[in-house]
Symmetry: C2
Subunit: 190 residues, 2 copies
DNA sequence: GCATCTCTGGACCGTTCGGTCAAGTCGTGA
DNA sequence: TCACGACTTGACCGAACGGTCCAGAGATGC
């Protein structure tokens, strides 16, 4: 559990995750995963008895946890919802820049081509929206639910554009795009 | 060309298009396409010599033409950019409701899992953004380019959310979301 | 030393895949 | 009536697929 070098299981997960995001679930073969992970076939079916879809399910859960983590780290130190959202957009932009593998938005991978059925993928996305709603409420955002859905709508769209253009700019533009109908407007009304 | 009943070629295109949008390119087998189109294998390879990817490329072009058509029909009669955008959102919401097949946003199908490489998919998307930019300019929208990109960003995100929730509401909410920094505000100044 | 258990390694399997092909049908013009 | 081109039909193919299986390596406890 506390391995110094990444275990075979971890390498498989990492390889699968990146390939699914690059090529989609059905577009990725087991052989490709094994090659990238430098692992033999038997190991995959030892750690993930149900094979490719099993591995993909675990990878989805990891992604979801990462998302929830990002949400928390973005909004926790913020003083209002707009600031937290800006932080989150920046985090995603960095993520996009850092990892060549981090290409497709996980939401899309899940929903279009994933091993989960549509309902499961949708439920996972809803988890993220809910976490964002809670933060919006905490920070005194009006219509917290709608605000959270808006953030994710724009985030997903911006990510797609970023991927298409191979440039994180759309993610950074999110902040100016969302001149939110916020209770704490940027230009003080008084 | 002016067939009364849909030709085999048309049936193949229609079947392929809907399946690709439902399941992605790699998630759809040739056999499925043939079953839905009620066509034998040879016909497919007669009309589309390069097979599945050939059919998918033609289907992509069809989709792109449809998009450009929708953009034109939405913005042409509009008096300002915001009105045209609202029209377009409504058109997409209707499209989403009408066809059970129209599930995945074509952009995503193209970019994630398509037969086109990323650059080609991106170029197609850029075509739509450009067409929207032209309309924005025509309608006196400030920062027409950024406005057009914003519209598509939000449109793609809303579509994804709509698909996840199996409900066109997010597409309809676009209008309120985009309280655009518009030169022609929504409440008529006169 | 030995039994045991976890994990690795890769040969092997049946199925399904995308694609080919030759035979056949049909409509049309000479 | 016949020849011809456009299109249909489904049997067939090799390759690649996801998955199974078991022999063995390596660590651990006794």
């Amino acid at each position: 559990m506390t391995d110094p070098s990444p275990s075979t299981r971890d390498r498989l997960l990492q390889a699968g995750l990146s390939l699914f995001q690059e090529q989609g679930f059905h577009g990725t073969s087991v052989a490709e995963i094994l090659t990238r992970a430098k692992a033999p076939k038997g190991s995959l079916y030892h750690h993930f008895p149900d094979g490719k879809s099993d591995l993909a399910r675990v990878a989805c859960r990891m992604t979801s946890d990462l998302m929830l983590n990002i949400i928390a780290r973005a909004y926790d130190p913020a003083v209002d919802f707009a600031e937290g959202t800006a932080r989150m957009a920046e985090k995603f932009a960095r993520l996009f820049e850092r990892d060549a593998h981090w290409r497709a938005c996980p939401v899309q991978t899940l929903l279009i081509d994933g091993p989960l059925d549509r309902a499961d993928g949708a439920a996972m996305l809803q988890t993220w929206i809910d976490a964002t709603t809670v933060q919006a409420e905490r920070l005194g955002q009006q219509e917290s639910d709608r605000a959270a859905r808006t953030v994710w709508s724009v985030l997903i769209g911006s990510w797609t554009l970023a991927r298409a253009q191979d440039d994180p700019a759309p993610l950074r533009e999110m902040t100016t795009l969302l001149n939110m109908p916020a209770p704490t407007p940027k230009e003080p009304p008084r």
